[in-house]
């Protein structure tokens, strides 16, 4: 018989209690995995939004929390193009539109100029890109097309106006795959913001960090009221993304607290119930260390069981989130490997935090006293 056999058998001595404790842990871990997973995928989608296109700088109105609320004059693009070290500039307008008939509360709508560098990383799956003089045409992201049930040649209502679908595209970023792209002029007209954009993206040449930093400083000092942000910093500065991460990690902290208290309670009850038995084991020559290993081993098994059930629950939970209209197109339902690893780590941490005190208490029992308890 291996020592682990004894641990497993002890754990399932009270099956209902073990399973309930593991279920409690599983719910906490699943909540963490879903929230951190969503935030992680959000961040990854945001990062690929810029990095996949070779964008070095994002220019927006200074002081705005996110690009949606930024407003700049489109003519500023020409001025930016004149800066030394700028290889390419693209104007962009971004907003959010809803599609009530498909129960989609919000999808990203991008207004881009034909041939813009922003089209990098956009793969047309069906149809064609729109041309420079076209109006009222739309390229639907794959996920949005799927959710709307639309394909090339169909008409889609955007903010109350009909647009003809000319392409279904796939992008490296989920935001774009879950949204749509229309000509910049069309979006400006649709939003009543003619001549305005929400920002510009810049490809620098050379694009080494020092040169990009230098270009960033020059733009900010020469054009008052604008903020130039390096692509890698844009993700870190986005308020919504930061909020999502804070929420995810706050939930993690809460899960650790609640989960470890659950394990602590179960393991303390176990030690109390088995005081006499622990006395017998000590009488049979077991060292304190072995008693500790047994209790900690049981606690660890609980943690691993909770983590495994938690992962399954997290997958189910993620699919349930996708049933909500607001989540469609914005949420990547896959839980990344490192986040799953976090689930296992959480199971380990919770079981150690909850198991250490009962294990110490069990090991500290005086054998003679423990036998009298029996």
């Amino acid at each position: 018989m291996h020592f682990s056999t004894l641990i497993f058998r002890n754990l399932f001595r009270r099956r209902a209690r073990t399973l309930l404790t593991a279920a409690g842990l599983a719910v906490a871990i699943a909540a963490v995995l879903d929230l951190v997973g969503v935030a992680w995928n959000f961040q990854r989608a945001f990062t690929s939004l810029y990095q996949g296109k070779g964008i070095d700088l994002i220019v927006a109105r200074a002081g705005v929390a996110n690009q949606l609320s930024s407003t700049l004059d489109q003519k500023l693009g020409e001025r930016l193009r004149g800066f030394q070290g700028v290889a390419d500039v693209a104007a962009s307008m971004v907003d959010v539109v809803g599609f009530e008939e498909a129960h989609i509360a919000g999808a990203l709508i991008n207004g881009w100029e034909s041939g813009s560098l922003l089209f990098r990383g956009t793969h047309v799956l069906e149809g064609r890109m729109f041309g420079p003089d076209e109006d009222k045409v739309a390229m639907l992201g794959r996920v949005l097309a799927l959710n709307l049930g639309k394909t090339v040649g169909d008409t889609v209502g955007v903010a109350g106006e009909p647009f003809q679908v000319v392409a279904v595209h796939e992008s490296d970023s989920l935001f774009e795959s879950g949204g749509l792209i229309i000509p910049l002029k069309s979006l400006q007209h649709l939003m009543g913001r003619e001549g305005q954009v929400t920002g510009f993206v810049i490809q620098a040449e050379p694009s080494d960090p020092k040169s990009v930093s230098d270009l960033q400083r020059r733009i900010e000092s020469e054009i008052p009221g604008v903020a130039a942000t390096q692509a890698r910093d844009q993700v870190a500065r986005d308020m919504q993304l930061r909020l999502a991460m804070v929420m995810a990690w706050s939930t993690t902290a809460l899960a650790i607290l609640l989960g470890s208290v659950g394990v602590l309670n179960t393991m303390l009850m176990t030690v109390f119930e088995r005081t006499g038995e622990i006395g017998v084991l000590r009488a049979l020559g077991w060292k304190r260390r072995r008693v500790m290993s047994m209790i900690l081993g049981e606690s660890l098994c609980l943690g691993v069981l909770g983590a495994l059930i938690g992962m399954v629950l997290a997958f189910v939970g993620m699919r349930c989130i996708l049933l909500m209209p607001t989540a469609r197109g914005f949420i990547d339902p896959n839980i990344p490997g490192p986040v799953l690893g976090l689930g296992l780590l959480l199971g380990f941490v919770l079981s150690v935090l909850g198991g250490v005190y009962p294990a110490i208490r069990a090991a500290a029992l005086d054998p003679s006293e423990a036998l009298r308890h029996e």
């Binding site: 018989m1 291996h2 020592f3 056999t5 004894l6 058998r9 002890n10 399932f12 001595r13 006499g276 038995e277 017998v280 084991l281 000590r282 009488a283 049979l284 020559g285 077991w286 060292k287 304190r288 072995r290 005086d366 054998p367 003679s368 036998l371 029996e374």
Partner: protein, 228 residues
């Protein structure tokens, strides 16, 4: 043939043992001296609460005396690793058997062996042999709940012998058994004592059990009153 030679030199000796429990209310032992030679069987008898079990716990290194000292082969227990002493030199048999309910009979016998260097295979082999020696081979895979009280005590004795101890300490080992089963268990303990040269210290209320011992130590109110 005895594996350990019987000599008059005590293998276990308690000198002036006193035990006052931390609350100070119970003076369980008030200066007890006792000795047992290699291969000897000693019965400790006396009324409930006279300190028999406390004495057994002190001799077995389960508890420390308030005053006095226990010596094993001349070495004071206060200077040796008491966990190791219990694991290697002492076998405990309890009145209520105290088998682990989640393990089978043969697995219960392996429990003390976790403190040895034996491999899992070696542990299993030794446990199988012991289960056979106590006549329980046919019930080896049964959990304690499916064994009779006599069978449970047989397994508890096999467990006490798991690490080949030199001393067996038994606390009312026949207290829960009928007279027929009591005779069986006494015979088994006697056989092991003779064959393995074990020293047996047995706490009992039973005059029949006491009569089977080489020597009887009678206690009252925390003191040894008669040795015969």
């Amino acid at each position: 043939m005895n594996e350990r030679e019987q000599t008059s030199e005590p293998i276990l000796r308690g000198e002036g043992l006193r035990k006052v429990y931390p609350d100070g209310a119970v003076d369980a032992l008030r200066g007890v001296s006792i000795a047992a030679a290699v291969g000897e069987s000693v019965a400790v008898v006396g009324p409930s609460g006279c300190g028999k079990t406390t004495l057994l716990h002190l001799l077995g290194g389960l508890d420390e005396p308030t005053a006095g000292e226990v010596f094993h082969k001349g070495q004071p227990l206060s200077r040796i690793d008491r966990d190791r002493y219990r694991a290697r030199e002492i076998g405990f048999v309890f009145q209520s058997f105290h088998l682990l309910p989640t393990l089978s009979a043969v697995e219960n016998v392996q429990v003390p062996m976790f403190e040895t260097d034996w491999s899992p295979r070696e542990r299993a082999k030794r446990a199988e042999a012991l289960v056979e020696q106590v006549g329980m081979a046919h019930r080896r895979n049964h959990p304690p709940a499916r064994l009779s009280v006599g069978e449970r005590q047989r397994i508890a004795i096999a467990r006490a012998l798991a690490n080949e101890p030199s001393i067996l300490l038994a606390d009312e080992p026949t207290g829960n058994l009928d007279s027929h089963t009591q005779d069986d268990i006494l015979r088994l303990l006697g056989d092991f004592r003779r064959n393995k040269g074990l020293t047996l210290i047995i706490v009992t209320h039973s005059s029949e059990v006491a009569a089977a011992a080489d020597r009887i130590v009678r206690m009252r109110d925390g003191l040894v009153v008669v040795e015969a």
